[in-house]
């Protein structure tokens, strides 16, 4: 199945947008580098609409208690309810539990159109 969901100009780098892929609610995430990713728009936990959350960075793992390094701006999708974090560029893995991933969809860019493929 292939479906055009929007134009590339509809989503600015660092932002996200909800859409429909057939009947499925999806969230389109665009990193600061301009690359698109698509995931199910339902949190794995209790089904919150992830598009109502935030595309942001996160304090990355450090080796020293008390050390914070906020990095990866535009690559982390945070749930609007309980704040669970999903790694947009690494298959939608939950940062705290990488064995759990958001269902994801392939993206192809055709001219100025964003096409979701599954």
């Amino acid at each position: 199945m292939r479906q055009v969901v929007c134009k590339t100009s509809d989503v600015n780098p660092g932002e996200m947008q909800e859409a429909r892929f057939g009947e499925l609610p999806i969230v389109l995430c665009r990193t600061l580098e301009g690359k698109f990713y698509a995931f199910s728009n339902r949190c794995l936990h209790q089904g919150a609409s992830l598009a109502d959350g935030m595309l942001c960075g996160a304090p990355v793992p450090t080796d020293t208690p008390g050390e914070y390094r906020y990095e990866r701006e535009g690559q982390i999708l945070r749930c609007p309810w309980h704040g669970r974090e999903f790694d947009v560029v690494n298959g939608g893995q939950m940062l705290a539990d990488p064995a759990r991933c958001l269902p994801r969809f392939q993206i192809e860019i055709e001219d100025d159109r964003v096409v979701v493929v599954r």
């Binding site: 609610p25 728009n41 936990h45 089904g47 959350g53 945070r78 609007p80």
Partner: protein, 363 residues
């Protein structure tokens, strides 16, 4: 509002949500306050002291990010939006309002006169703007509990309102089972009100705050355990046999452990509390209820193991904690359960506790 509004209704059940936080702002209370209390807010920019040394580190602070209002007001401050996002989509038969953390008159650490004025204003505002505007909503009586006489007066003033169903006490740094506070429970019983206990910002580490929010939030159930233990061994339920207490937002999975521990201690040390004439677990089973939220992720087997530990299907009441960040979805938070347990948790346990709900009380 979530652009993709989800149906949040458990199949075949109209639910009673035992923890909904309507949000008041100080400006809302001004019409209900007399001078000088009104002037302290207007002229001196008075606000209640804050306890936590951290923020709530979620996207929208204390709230669900999708519950914020587009005009900038905080989540929970608009009834129409709450209807749209929660009451109508959730299949709510009834919702119990439990107020917000700020102001929380009962947890003020001084200036109880101001606390009492705030409590009265809050109750009047709650009745006019919420309870009398949606038939599904029922309310909590706010009191400045550390000044017992004024607290009792306030319970008598508004406790007979047909839509007030409980007196609210905060879990903070006061143990409410002390006989000094018993007139509050007496007044609650007189008005057929339950007592709801909701944590405010309790210091959970030896009377202090741990270094990180994640520690504090993890340990909130310990504050609930302290209150349950205190109420039981101080004889509150022996003195007020009609009293029902709801422990709100501490979850319930700790209860089987605590009941067993208290029973064991009672077998050893009964002689210190000779006014206790039943096993503590029996007292808890008869008088105390626990809300579901915040739900741990549990499968059906894990959940049923807790029910077995409680030795009762009547002690757990569903709650969302809307609109806070750790909200629980009515259809996603609990594992799949069979009737009649499902109906009890979502509805009838709360109705049995809240005598003043339509269909409420012991059937």
């Amino acid at each position: 509002m979530s652009k993709a509004l989800m149906l949040e209704k458990p199949k075949g059940i109209r639910l009673v949500d035992t923890d909904i936080h309507e949000r008041v702002q100080y400006a809302d209370l001004l019409p209900y306050l007399e001078d000088p209390w009104r002037r302290y807010i207007l002229d001196c920019e008075w606000k209640q002291e804050k306890h936590l040394p951290y923020t709530q580190p979620a996207i929208a602070g204390l709230d669900r990010a999708d519950a914020r209002l587009s005009d900038g007001r905080p989540a929970g401050s608009d009834l129409d939006f709450m209807k749209q996002q929660l009451l109508d989509s959730g299949g709510h038969e009834f919702g119990i309002l439990t107020g917000a953390l700020d102001p929380s008159p009962s947890s003020m650490n001084g200036w109880y006169e101001m606390g009492a004025a705030l409590a009265s204003a809050y109750n009047d505002w709650q009745i006019e703007h919420w309870l009398e505007r949606d038939e599904r909503l029922y309310g909590s009586v706010h009191i400045a509990a550390k000044d017992v006489q004024t607290a009792v007066r306030e319970i008598h003033r508004v406790g007979s309102h047909p839509k007030m169903v409980q007196v609210l006490l905060p879990l903070d740094d006061t143990l409410w089972g002390d006989p000094y506070y018993h007139p509050i429970f007496e007044a609650a019983v007189q008005h057929r009100l339950a007592v709801g206990m909701h944590h405010n910002e309790p210091p959970v580490y030896y009377g202090k705050f741990p270094r990180y929010f994640i520690e504090w939030h993890t340990m909130i159930p310990t504050a609930h355990m302290m209150q349950v233990t205190n109420l039981v061994f101080n004889g509150v339920f022996e003195k007020f046999p009609a009293l029902k207490v709801l422990m709100i937002e501490g979850g319930f999975t700790f209860a089987p452990f605590l009941m067993r521990k208290m029973d064991e201690q009672y077998r050893h040390l009964r002689h210190e509390v000779p006014w206790i004439k039943r096993m503590p677990s029996e007292i808890i089973r008869n008088h105390i209820r626990f809300t579901t939220q915040p739900m741990d992720e549990m499968n059906r087997k894990d959940f049923m193991r807790v029910i077995e530990g409680l030795e009762s299907e009547d002690m757990i009441c569903f709650s969302t904690d809307y609109p806070h960040w750790d909200y629980d979805s009515p259809i996603r938070a609990l594992p799949s359960l069979d009737f009649p347990l499902k109906e009890k948790i979502y509805s009838t346990n709360a109705k049995a506790m809240y005598e003043k709900l339509p269909g409420g009380g012991r059937q």
